[in-house]
Symmetry: C2
Subunit: 422 residues, 2 copies
């Protein structure tokens, strides 16, 4: 399609906050039950939804050791290599407490303090996401969070996926709960006999988990409400259609709602890409999901210029953006809205998903217009510091009194006047 | 009361997310109407709730000029002095885009981009809050936000409070809507004929405004759900009871739900403070509100040590904390949870509310356990940057493939393998 057609489509579809009355009601009920009945409710919901009768809500050391043997040495090495890169990038995000001395007798500052406790939701059951463990835990650790707990639904055999467990062990998380769904979010938000209350809940999940996070928001902090995953590739003639097709498919395999979009200035590239997608799709292991995703959300958009392509990108505000164009680094200033930008032919999204270093938890569904990747900054909070001497306060006293009186807050004015008199 | 008694009280009361079914239903209806009927709904709700028939939804230049004449020169000077200090502090919060080169062929980075548009809710009607205008607008301006709009309910005469208008003019905001309540939040979130859609909504408001912000959260960003205001003063023998009493009263006058709490190690100070509060309350202009706030939420807690006092502070996680103790700067490391810390006898909360420089929009109701003051960081978002050369990708290819296969995401693995072959 053309850039204009795609823009019209974008503008028609961009309402995210749809009504979800049924899920809402169900989640409110689950939260209420967990607050009232604690562990008992967690066991009951796990029996109901995961069809497993839990006798212990936490993972034992034996289970972790067993997991390490299942996953094998090459997986452990790969995870260690990922941890090294993810740590390296997130170390750069550390923030420091600062103080300034703007005038005589005045000290102002900003104190940076790690959150006391964080709960990380890791999806499980059929699929296993060890990378979710790394991407959520490492920034929290670097921020200095002391209490980190993971919660994840069990498999049909009552165990947690061994790849998830091994990743958790490698990053040094000791508390792992065998609970999934809205009940896990409720337990982390309000605490139960076994599950410790945390001050922030992060990590992706299904519609129930997302809804539960929205409900407990305010009582605890949450990261973001994640939607289906998206990729947008901007390609010129220099792009390799084989690579681009593989990257689009890697996005499409996430789920049927995932979006794989390519915007190109080249008709030739568009044709070659279309062919490659068809070919690669044939042999893909998750073909059924990919086909549905590509058919429903897949788009190849041909624009008249790169400028038009960047305009569409900024309107789409994609989670993942690959700039497969010449001199991609120089094009950075054109991009206002994206979760992560992958530059050139050799920086595919999968590299960032697992190992490059930056976080793979990114704002979806156009929320990169206002949200950032998960980072160390999500696991600290700031406190302002104000220190005035008597003389410094005296100098500004009249101005404060004037504004306080204008707001009709006379006791505010008085708290300054009473000091001025002395 | 003693520290132990206060701790027990704190633990009993600390559930914030109460059921608000009626407000919820009403707000959902308002949002729906504004999305469907646009300006027409805004005019209708303003007639219904504010009893004013609006003919124009925006403030005119003539109205701003009229306002400046009403407020007078000393107010304008005070506002300019406040702007200077608030700008100075927030300039220190600017963040820069960075790039690193962790190994050969690898460039990683974090791009900082201002939000495109922000809507600021300023409460109005009976009370006027010009300081809200400054505290919300200035960090957005410093962040580089180009489109900033203010929305505020009109007075009975159909005009916006002149102090609010003048403050808006002084910080350079040109777009001011005469709309309040949940309808204003809905208009900013989804846009109407007159009100431009924004990507983030900030600013305090009543229960309806707070509820509306919670509903539109996800479609747009919001700052935080603010609760009633709080002060906690930690005092030793060096504290001046007259000052402390004035500061507690300045907090109590906000509204009947405001909390004014003093924790002290000195029985003598506690007695002197009690007397001062009684005396100063007698002559307070907002006596009725102050009396109710002090009676219901006011507390004087006597602890056995400063260490016990700091422990209580961290559990309370107060919005405003005054450390009226000897060598207060040295006590900073004891404080983990607070919105802002005011040090010594000459740094009253009112100083920070208006003029010291740091933001007065602070996390309330114990949310300073996980939230920060409003700042420049709330008006930018970050984008990760990833650039690998072919050789650099080749080196990590096997590790990526291993993890992708463990997650069952074979097209992810393929997007790496396909590059490795070449």
């Amino acid at each position: 399609m053309t850039g204009k057609e795609y823009q019209a489509e974008l503008r028609n579809n961009r309402i995210r906050n749809e009504d979800t009355e049924t899920i809402n009601r169900s989640v409110r009920d689950i939260i209420q039950q967990v607050r009232e009945r604690g562990d008992e409710a967690l066991v009951a919901y796990t029996a109901k939804f995961d069809h497993v009768q839990l006798t212990n809500l936490t993972v034992s050391i034996e289970e972790i050791e067993e997991a390490r043997e299942i996953v094998g040495e090459s997986f452990i090495q790969a995870i260690q290599s990922a941890i090294k890169n993810i740590k390296g990038f997130h170390e750069e995000q550390r923030e420091k407490t600062w103080l300034t001395n703007p005038s005589d007798g005045v000290m102002l500052g900003q104190k940076v303090t790690p959150l006391e406790s964080v709960g990380i939701y890791v999806p499980g059951g059929k699929a296993a996401y060890p990378s979710t463990v790394l991407m959520n835990t490492i920034p929290a650790k670097i921020a200095g969070v002391k209490q980190i707990a993971i919660t994840t639904p069990v498999q049909e055999d009552g165990k947690v996926n061994p790849y998830v467990l091994t990743a958790a062990a490698e990053v040094g998380v000791e508390t792992i709960y065998k609970v999934g769904g809205a009940q896990a979010v409720a337990a982390l938000a309000y605490g139960t006999e076994t599950v410790g209350k945390v001050v922030k809940i992060v990590g992706p999940g299904n519609a129930y988990v997302a809804c539960a996070k929205k409900w407990v928001f305010g009582d605890v902090a949450i990261d973001m409400i994640a939607g289906p995953s998206e990729i947008c590739i901007v390609a010129d003639e220099s792009a390799n259609p084989k690579y681009a097709a593989a990257d689009l498919l890697s996005q499409a395999e996430h789920d049927e709602l995932a979006s794989a979009i390519c915007i190109t200035t080249s008709d030739l590239f568009a044709e070659a890409l279309q062919l490659e997608i068809q070919q690669q799709m044939e042999s893909a292991e998750r073909k059924a999901i990919i086909e549905q995703s590509i058919a429903n959300q897949g788009r190849i958009v041909v624009t008249e210029s790169l400028a038009e392509a960047y305009e569409l990108v900024n309107e789409l505000a994609p989670e993942h953006l690959q700039l497969m164009v010449e001199n991609p680094m120089e094009k950075l200033s054109n991009i206002k809205n994206a979760g992560a930008i992958f530059l050139g032919n050799h920086s595919p999204e999968a590299l960032g998903d697992y190992l490059a270093g930056p976080n793979h938890t990114l704002p979806t569904s156009g929320t990169s217009t206002f949200s950032s990747p998960l980072g160390v900054y999500d696991f600290v909070k700031k406190t302002s510091i104000i220190h005035y001497s008597a003389a410094a306060l005296n100098e500004v006293a009249d101005d404060i009194i004037t504004i306080a009186n204008a707001e009709g807050l006379y006791a505010h004015a008085n708290s300054i006047a009473i000091r001025k008199e002395n």
